[in-house]
């Protein structure tokens, strides 16, 4: 029986994949997309799913499944799409057999990302259709439609989510017990001319892609997902995705052309709509992708002055647009906040095994090329032990580049296990091959921690909990040509310091694997005896504060300095502060 349930768009996509007969799904975790695959995994008997080692591999798994005739889904965040674009750019030439849906979740405003980018631009570049849901019901319906469209036009289809759809829950009319659609696999057909992208075969594919784009444009013009909501025709809005909700919130009385299937752009639909309104306004989040195409088609669009191009939209910014267009919008009065409130940035957890590595790297005054993960927090005070962060895997190559540029001093790359397996191995191979001497520090907690503790090839189990090989990271490092590889207990600071100093100063490339569990994933040391500071021994030297542990609090003031105290509820007895203290003031609570 149909009823309304509250689902995030990520959950709705997973439900729809199940109901639409998807049988193969692959992803690499990344906020805000992660829950798509986590929810698909709950249907593990129905959909063969995996955490792939990176988004490129995930896309390739989906491509293979599609060519084998299965309905397939691949999910990633926007920066993951950059990694996956290589196979996608050619598969758009070859074309899908079984329906292939690419879920890509953008993060406008960079709540949890290193950059802001609009995936619709890459979809247009790849000549693939894009659905832009504005809530979870649409995410559900569009996922169904995307599988059908993919098969009808033999094209991978994108669904562009954003943080405010992926992580917003809205009501969905759904029958969770409805039977799965019986989709008979199209099976595999050997067809070398169709499936082998070599120049001779790719040239006719190229022409077919352009023809297909025009056919898709006609399809979009008639799609139920592109609809006009008639209202006062003094203004007409063209909008898509979450922006639609903000337009309806702030301009409820005006006409709207809501684009759910926004690429290829149904230009004639827009021209017809424009003819019914006095002024046409385009509202879209991030890049002016629709607007530029509409203008290029010679359709007049209001030249909006309100800045809407960067960062997340919200009703406040659209209210500013209303003030510009109509002069009748007053934002609500806003009460002030307290000046000088202390910030509350995220921090490495109490007892985190990454903390000591950064403490020692800072002490050794190493230049640290960093990477993407919880450990990026090592960049912030008081540790301040990371110099650069670019993208997944960039630490190793960029550290080598620093060396090649002739930088003085100790140079380290710091990368987590999951990121190393995602795209660090090739960088390390490059260091060995090109005779680098940098030290790569792999923070190995055997899990993909930041996105919520997903399994990876170092974990020993798959997404469904099935046992599998546990990858030997040290063996990989040796196999790519690094001779100096050692493993260190991440909690043993003296040993860490000795090893890091030796390896950083060695005249050849080295890898130090700092091993320690993710304390929140493993609940390591839960119930362990918390540590305590003896105020009689504490000299208020402040050294333990430099660890940046949230369990270490300010105690009694001594002049301008403070003795430390330990929050017994937060401390998990990791022992790092005891090792740092020069006055034996810290010990397990007796």
């Amino acid at each position: 029986m149909e009823h309304k349930v509250l689902l995030s768009a990520n959950e709705a996509v997973a439900q729809a994949a199940y109901h639409a007969g998807c049988t193969v799904a692959a992803a690499y975790p990344g906020t805000p997309s992660t829950e798509v695959m986590e929810n698909i995994a709950k249907l593990k008997d129905a959909i063969r799913c995996e955490w792939s080692v990176n988004e490129k591999v995930a896309a390739e798994v989906a491509i293979g499944a599609s060519l084998a005739g299965a309905r397939t889904l691949v999910a990633m965040k926007h920066v993951g799409l950059n990694v996956a674009m290589d196979p996608i750019m050619t598969f758009t030439f070859v074309g899908a057999v079984g329906g292939m849906v690419v879920i890509v979740a953008d993060d406008p405003g960079m709540h949890s990302s290193q950059n802001e980018q609009d995936s619709r631009v890459l979809a247009k570049f790849a000549r693939v259709p894009v659905f832009e849901p504005s809530d979870s019901q649409e995410a559900y319906d569009m996922t169904h439609a995307a599988f059908d469209l993919s098969e009808q036009f033999e094209v991978p289809v994108f669904i562009r989510l954003t943080t405010r759809t992926s992580h917003a829950s809205t009501l969905v009319n759904i029958d969770p017990d409805a039977p799965r659609k019986e989709v008979v696999s199209k099976g595999y057909t050997k067809d070398i001319i169709r499936n082998v992208a070599v120049p001779a075969y790719a040239r006719p594919m190229r022409a077919r892609v352009e023809k297909r784009t025009e056919a898709l444009r006609n399809f979009a013009a008639n799609s139920e997902f592109n609809r006009v909501e008639k209202g006062d025709n003094h203004l007409g809005f063209v909008t898509a995705g979450i922006s639609y909700q903000y337009v309806k919130e702030v301009f409820p009385e005006f006409s709207v052309l809501k684009l759910g299937l926004s690429n290829p752009l149904p230009v004639e639909t827009i021209r017809n709509f424009a003819a019914t309104v006095d002024r046409l306004v385009v509202v879209e989040e991030l890049d002016p992708l629709l607007e530029e195409q509409i203008r290029a088609a010679g359709i007049a669009v209001v030249d909006v002055k309100t800045p809407l191009r960067m960062m997340e939209l919200n009703p406040m910014r659209i209210t500013a647009l209303r003030q510009e267009l109509l002069g009748d919008a007053t934002p609500p009065p806003v009460q002030s906040t307290l000046d000088g409130l202390p910030n509350r940035p995220p921090v490495l957890c109490a007892g985190c095994s990454h903390r000591g590595v950064f403490y020692i790297l800072a002490k050794l005054k190493a230049t640290v090329a960093g990477d993407i993960g919880c450990y990026t927090l090592g960049a912030f005070a008081p540790l301040s032990a990371m110099d650069t962060t670019i993208c997944m895997g960039a630490s190793i190559g960029s550290a080598l580049g620093m060396e090649k540029a002739g930088m003085d001093g100790r140079i380290a790359a710091v990368i987590g296990d999951s990121t190393f397996l995602h795209s660090g191995i090739t960088g390390l191979l490059n260091v060995a091959y090109n005779r680098g001497t940098i030290t790569t520090v792999i923070l190995d907690n055997s899990i993909t921690a930041m996105t919520g503790h997903q399994k990876n090839p170092g974990s020993g189990t798959t997404i469904t909990g099935a046992e599998t090989v546990t990858i030997d990271i040290a063996a990989i490092c040796r196999a790519v040509g690094i001779k100096r590889v050692c493993e260190v207990d991440a909690y043993n600071l003296a040993e860490l310091e000795r090893v890091l100093k030796e390896e950083l100063d060695a005249p050849e490339a080295s890898v130090v694997i700092a091993k320690g569990p993710c304390v929140i994933a493993t609940k390591a040391n839960v119930g362990a005896t918390p540590y305590v500071v003896d105020p009689n021994k504490c000299t208020a030297c402040g050294l333990c504060f430099k660890l940046g542990c949230p369990a270490i609090l300010r105690g009694e003031a001594v002049g301008k300095r403070f003795k430390s105290a330990i929050d017994p509820a937060a401390c998990i007895g990791c022992d790092q502060c005891r090792q740092v203290c020069k006055f034996n003031a810290i010990s397990p609570r007796s």
Partner: protein, 192 residues
């Protein structure tokens, strides 16, 4: 109605906002819940927003538009005050969690936060001691349900509907202690 729930990772904010959302859905209303929780487990600020009514468009509540601000932590109540509309209600848990910027000495703590809260929110302020009430109810980990109970008195939903939403989300073996915590929060805020 617009309700913003703010606090620190690990305080149970997301479960509370989910139960609120489910309660609104059970009442037959349209509802949207939006949250930012990228690194919530690592001690950062957490915010979840719930809107419900006949028809809801934006999932985001902008500054000056929250009917209720529920703060699980005092500094966060002060931080997110701009969300609250003039005349809106502030429900603040009587707990202070010092951010790392304070415990490591980079920034000073808020001086006398209780008087700041009184000054900022005036008559619209209700405070609750969720830690004490949840311990009395039998489990300190149910502090978020104490806050949910207190919040329930400010919403148009019956206690029964809240209970139904809780039963639909909380594992059976933990339901009783959570319901007790919820009722403790409800009683505490209803008492004059």
């Amino acid at each position: 109605m617009n309700i913003s729930l703010v606090g620190v990772g690990g305080q149970g904010i997301l479960l509370t906002s989910e139960i609120l959302s489910r309660t609104a859905a059970l009442a037959g209303m349209d509802v949207k819940k939006s949250e930012i929780h990228g690194m919530a487990q690592r001690g950062g600020s957490v915010i979840s927003q719930v809107r419900f009514g006949a028809r809801v468009f934006s999932p985001i509540i902008i500054n000056g538009m929250s009917d209720i601000l529920v703060a699980f932590e005092k500094t966060e109540a002060l931080r997110w005050r701009p969300l609250l509309k003039a005349g809106g209600k502030a429900l603040v848990n009587n707990q202070e969690i010092l951010p790392i910027t304070v415990s490591s000495g980079q920034q000073p703590a808020v001086e006398n936060p209780d008087s700041k809260l009184g000054e900022f929110f005036g008559d619209s302020l209700s405070t609750i001691n969720a830690a004490a009430l949840s311990s009395e109810a039998g489990n300190p980990r149910t502090a978020n349900m104490v806050i949910a109970g207190a919040l329930s008195t400010l919403t148009p939903f019956t206690a029964d509907l809240w209970h139904e939403a809780m039963a639909g989300r909380i594992p059976a073996k933990l339901l009783d202690v959570n319901l007790k915590a919820f009722e403790a929060g409800r009683a505490a805020i209803s008492a004059p």
